[in-house]
């Protein structure tokens, strides 16, 4: 109430709603497109309201797949993507939390070195070491496998840093009390540290799930078989350059399906999502 302004702040609301509509517009169009005949779309005649092909298109997309390109039911692709995302998220959390625990609660030679080695990986996103990493995976025989898809992405530093930062804020007195109570390191971890870390784990899970689901470059390189495709790659492969052949309604339906899980996670777990974003960037 610092400035006298009678009534709500119209200008601000207008700007915000404009922003919201602009953000939503592409998705809206996508939804519309997924409910129409392909010919309507290809002719450039697509109206701005939904058509009547919703059930038909989605059914075909999920269970049959595009007819002219890969014939992979998108439903199966979604399963692949889900598995990948979950494995990456859960795997990353497990590995980084125990690493952080080791680094914080123990003293041992090369402790610092180990930490720095992990930390430095922040500076090596996959895009800068594309082909050599590919070669390693290939020579391990892991192409076109879930292991190859997920394991190389599991060990990055963000989780470890987050947990380390959090563990540093746990009072020493808790550990001392536990020791007096007779707890060893494993006990302390399971009984005390883990429960305390719950919100951080939830927050990290949201971020990592999205990260895993949306992976592009890596699955593109590693998977060639149609049945190993993730949904994000699947879409790309559906868009043939001679776009008269692209079944746009299926592409758009696939896009909707590809967007729903991560967006749902963000909306349902918004608080953790925000916390996760803010914490991992510090």
């Amino acid at each position: 109430m610092i400035d006298r302004r009678s009534g709500p702040d119209w200008f601000a609301h207008a700007v915000l709603w404009t922003g919201i509509l602009v953000m939503a517009f592409p998705v809206y169009l996508t939804f519309i497109a997924s409910t129409h005949e392909p010919s309507t779309i290809a002719n450039g005649q697509m109206p701005l309201v939904p058509g009547d092909k919703l059930l038909e298109t989605y059914w075909q997309t999920i269970f049959v797949g595009p007819t002219r390109t890969s014939r992979m039911p998108v439903g199966a692709m979604m399963v692949n993507t889900l598995v990948m995302a979950l494995v990456i998220a859960i795997g990353k959390i497990c590995i980084s939390i125990v690493s952080a625990y080791a680094v914080v609660y123990f003293r041992f030679p090369f402790r610092r070195t180990a930490f720095w080695m992990i930390f430095m990986t922040l500076m090596l996103p996959v895009e800068v070491r594309i082909y050599p990493t590919y070669n390693v995976v290939a020579s391990l025989g892991l192409l076109d496998t879930f292991a190859g898809l997920t394991v190389p992405l599991i060990a990055s530093a963000t989780g470890t840093l987050l947990f380390r930062q959090f563990f540093m804020t746990i009072p020493d007195e808790l550990l001392e009390a536990s020791k007096i109570d007779g707890a060893g390191p494993v006990r302390f971890f399971v009984d005390t540290v883990l429960p305390l870390s719950r919100t951080n784990i939830a927050a990290l899970f949201v971020i990592l799930f999205i990260y895993g689901w949306n992976q592009y470059l890596w699955p593109l390189l590693i998977t060639t078989r149609a049945d190993m495709q993730t949904i994000v790659i699947g879409i790309k492969k559906m868009i043939v350059t001679a776009d008269a052949l692209t079944e746009w309604q299926i592409v758009m339906a696939t896009a909707m399906l590809a967007m729903i899980p991560p967006v749902a996670v963000v909306l349902l777990m918004q608080r953790w999502f925000v916390k996760g974003l803010v914490e991992t960037e510090k």
Binding site: N43, S99, V232, V265, L267
Partner: protein
């Protein structure tokens, strides 16, 4: 920095660290080392003979006009996306911060694009701007502009910039909003009592206090544009038309794809690595220093 209370076991920490370190070594450092090594070699297409050539790959790279083209593309791309997404996000955040109630509602409505894969975002924008069937494209052509990102390099770049900005705005918005909300209300009230009107308050008090956030976002955005936009480019323009949207990262992918120039691709990777290291180091050095209470 150090915990006072610790455990004494010697072998347990190694066990705990093993998975992460193993994966890190095998899938990070080894390939990175390989890339560096490879950048000093020339291999023939079959990998039969290799020759150590010191910096020849690098020299060849810098002699290639296409490499400079890629650098220019990357620069144009980065600057545009960063400037656009930061300013739009700041505007939205300031407007949202003005709402006493409802700020959270707006937050929900504006942050979800973060969850959309860059490649998907690209497909969405591609769809809207497809010269023949895109809804928006139709509108533009109706205005008389011959919009065609398939043929026109500038149009293609604009398309990619829009898609990348769309995604990034929500991330920046979130951080700006958090930054704005962390400024104590009483400081703003004090400025109001001191006689500063809304605009003046913003530029003399709010914006300076927001500058650590802004700075941090600047670096993050640049890194994002450099690397995370691979999917956007691949899904829309494939680096075209005629390499108009080929950024440095994309070039690494293209050049190595057929195994034709592994040495050159490796050299490019090494250069990119150096850039990331520089950016990250910069971020850590300068951001840590500027935090107000």
């Amino acid at each position: 920095m150090e915990k006072r209370a610790i455990f004494r076991q010697r072998w347990l920490p190694y066990l705990l660290l093993a998975p992460q370190l193993a994966i890190t070594l095998v899938f990070f450092y080894f390939p990175a080392g390989q890339a560096v090594w490879q950048s000093f070699l020339i291999e023939d297409a079959f990998g039969i003979s290799t020759e150590f050539v010191w910096f020849e790959n690098y020299q060849a790279l810098f002699a290639q006009p296409q490499y400079y083209r890629a650098m220019a593309n990357t620069a144009v791309f980065s600057v545009s996306v960063t400037v656009l997404s930061l300013s739009l996000a700041l505007l939205l955040a300031v407007m949202a911060d003005r709402q006493i109630k409802g700020a959270n509602g707006y937050k929900t409505l504006l942050i979800w694009p973060y969850a959309v894969a860059p490649a998907i975002a690209a497909v969405l924008w591609l769809f809207m701007f497809q010269p023949s069937l895109g809804v928006v494209a139709r509108g533009i052509r109706a205005l008389g502009i011959d919009w065609n990102p398939l043929l026109n390099g500038t149009h293609a770049m604009i398309l990619v910039i829009m898609a990348a900005t769309w995604k990034q705005v929500s991330y920046n918005f979130l951080f700006f909003l958090a930054g704005l909300q962390s400024i104590p209300r009483s400081v703003i009230e004090a400025a109001a009592i001191d006689g500063a009107g809304r605009t003046r308050r913003f530029w003399t008090i709010v914006f300076p206090l927001l500058s650590p956030t802004a700075f941090f976002l600047l670096v993050v955005n640049v890194v994002y544009v450099f690397f995370d936009t691979f999917g956007i480019i691949d899904a829309t323009t494939g680096g075209g038309p005629a390499k108009a949207t080929e950024t440095m990262v994309y070039k690494v992918y293209q050049d190595g794809k057929l195994g034709a120039d592994l040495g050159g691709s490796a050299a490019q990777s090494v250069i990119l690595m150096a850039i990331v290291v520089a950016l990250t180091a910069f971020q850590f050095r300068y951001i840590e220093r500027k935090v107000h209470y």
